[in-house]
Amino acid sequence: MINEDRVTELKKISNEIRKSLISALAEAGSGHTAGALDMADIFTALYFHLLKHNPKDPLWADRDRLVLSNGHICTVQYSAMAHAGYFPVSELKTLRKFGSRLQGHPWREFLPGIETSSGPLGSGLSQAVGMAIAGQIDTGNRRAISSRRPVQKTIYCLMSDGELNEGNTWEAVMLAAKEKLGNLIAIIDKNGIQIDGFTKDIMPTDSIADKFRSFNWYVEEVDGHDIKAFIDLVEKIKTAVASVAPEMRKPVAIIAKTIPSKGVPEWEGKYEWHGKAPTKAEAEMAIKGLK
């Protein structure tokens, strides 16, 4: 269990990550705001508490992997990475500009620490599955019978509820269960919006939890803005996975219920903020609200 002081610290960090990403989007003049803001708490929990990583050595061989499948919310990842020390926070103002390492959608080769180039939806989970299978091969856990070898690296895949429309995602869901990928944790941002409107109107996906369970995944639901609950949940899951034999393991889906544009009351819950950036005046107002 994470202690309260640490949680308070993390909340401050997530506030800074929000402010930085709003400034970056306003400076860029385009980009995706709602999903970036609503995932700020989870990115904070990952980069500042859960992930085994080294900002000064992004390709460290023993790192956990964070695959961002819905690449359009990359501004929150860039902001979290900058605050974690991967690159100077001041570089965020180059977002989406010519020559920038911070491409409109992430390009792996431009920015060390980005595990995969993304943007086109529905293929991140498959890549995470590939990385997880590689981990299973390397640790001897693939096809292992009753030999409890520890999970060495965790593969986190961040994805969105809208992205579940993609067929490719479900191909990966099936394979992950077949391969008993206990080293894979998919985190689904259930913010209920996609570009054209609310997911319940464009393409209903409920119940996401039932769908994943029926595909033989282990599923948990959490408030995506409760940093403490999220961290405690991930740590509980990792302990549980390590305690069972490889052939009994399952991939894990954490459905994180979030509020689009969380942190800026004027924008919260509105799908119109999915694919647009704030003006400089709007950004100033929003940042003032975040103190």
Binding site: P120, S126, V129, I133, A134, I137, G167, E171
Partner: protein, 332 residues
């Protein structure tokens, strides 16, 4: 210039040995897998019919069957590559790269992951299964992608070498194979390098070629028969084997264009976007000469025997001879 290429000694015999290029895939993967533990193989429910079943039997811990899911096939392969593996992803070419092109573009080429795509059942020679399973557009689809290397070996032995060499390079590679047994053209000692084209038939020393034939894949055999037959009638033909369509061996093509001043390209693929297009793109800016294209002209295949289909789509020896005669008349 005078490299010894040691082709199959029985090449022009009526009982020339035949083997499937898929058999070359099978042998190549076993050797590559033995040489490098990072080699992993994936398929989408087509292990035996694409030649990866032997690898599954020998290295089950490094074999992944993703089920009938070609988009997953290549994206999982990309993830494996990013974690340090050398993945070969194998299915029929109509699905791989036909169905999963965007995934190959984004997660393999753009992402710069050294995944090797094996597309079997290329060309109308798939036969009885019909047009839905006869891939005629794969070379075009793969050739247009930045960073993708495109291999189209001419027989089982060259396919084996293509697989082994692919495993050694840090680049995405597409390898096209056929379905049926095809004549063995090369031998174990015929040299093979990715990116290098080689002359497989030439006139006697000191005699200039009247026409150059540039061929890829098993149809190269037809081109070689043409060259032999015409040479006996006093017409001098050189045949260039293109086993790497991208990057194209521009030097070899320009050398042949300068010498023969008229070319025929031969491929079991759409004319649009295939080998003929690649050759024309190369020559248009450097040294334009008349070209005739043997291949499928903006059509789908259909059921039939490979021989019937090759005839129907005008890719036989006879058609190549006609193209040679025609292109000679177009010379300035």
């Amino acid at each position: 210039m005078h490299e010894i290429i040691n082709l199959n000694e029985n090449l022009f015999e009526t009982d020339v040995e035949k083997e499937t290029t898929r058999k070359g895939v099978s042998e190549g993967l076993l050797l590559a897998g033995q040489a490098d533990p990072r080699v992993v193989v994936l398929t989408a429910d087509l292990a035996d019919s694409t030649g990866v079943g032997e690898f599954r039997n020998k290295f089950p811990e490094r074999f992944i069957d993703v089920g009938v899911a070609e988009q997953n096939l290549v994206t999982v392969a990309s993830g494996l590559a990013s974690a340090g593996k050398i993945p070969f992803a194998s299915s029929y070419a109509v699905f791989n790269p036909g169905r999963n092109w965007e995934q190959i573009r984004t997660t393999i080429c753009y992402n710069n992951q050294p995944v090797k795509i094996i597309g079997s059942h290329g060309g109308v020679t798939v036969g009885a299964d019909g047009a839905s399973h006869q891939m005629l557009e794969d070379v075009a689809l793969m050739r247009v992608l930045p960073r993708m290397i495109v291999l189209s070996p001419c027989d089982a032995i060259e396919t084996k070498k293509a697989i082994i060499e692919s495993a050694k390079i840090e680049s995405p590679v597409y390898i096209r194979t056929d379905r049926d047994k095809t004549p063995i053209i090369t031998s174990q000692v015929t040299p093979f390098e990715i990116g290098k084209a080689r002359i497989f038939f030439k006139p006697k020393v000191g005699i200039r070629a009247d026409v150059g034939i540039i061929a890829t894949g098993p149809l190269l055999y037809e081109a070689l028969l043409v060259a032999k037959e015409l040479s006996e009638k006093g017409k001098n033909v050189k045949v260039l084997n293109i086993s790497t369509i991208k990057p194209l061996d521009r030097d070899a093509i320009l050398l042949l264009a300068h010498e023969a001043k008229a070319l025929v390209t031969v491929e079991n693929h759409q004319i649009a976007g295939g080998l003929g297009s690649a050759v024309a793109e190369c020559l248009a800016t450097e040294y334009p000469v008349p070209i005739e294209f043997i291949g499928v002209h903006d059509a789908f295949g259909q059921s039939g025997t490979p021989a019937e289909l090759i005839k129907h789509y005008s890719m036989t020896k006879k058609d190549i001879i006609q193209a040679v005669n025609k292109v000679v008349l177009r010379k300035n």
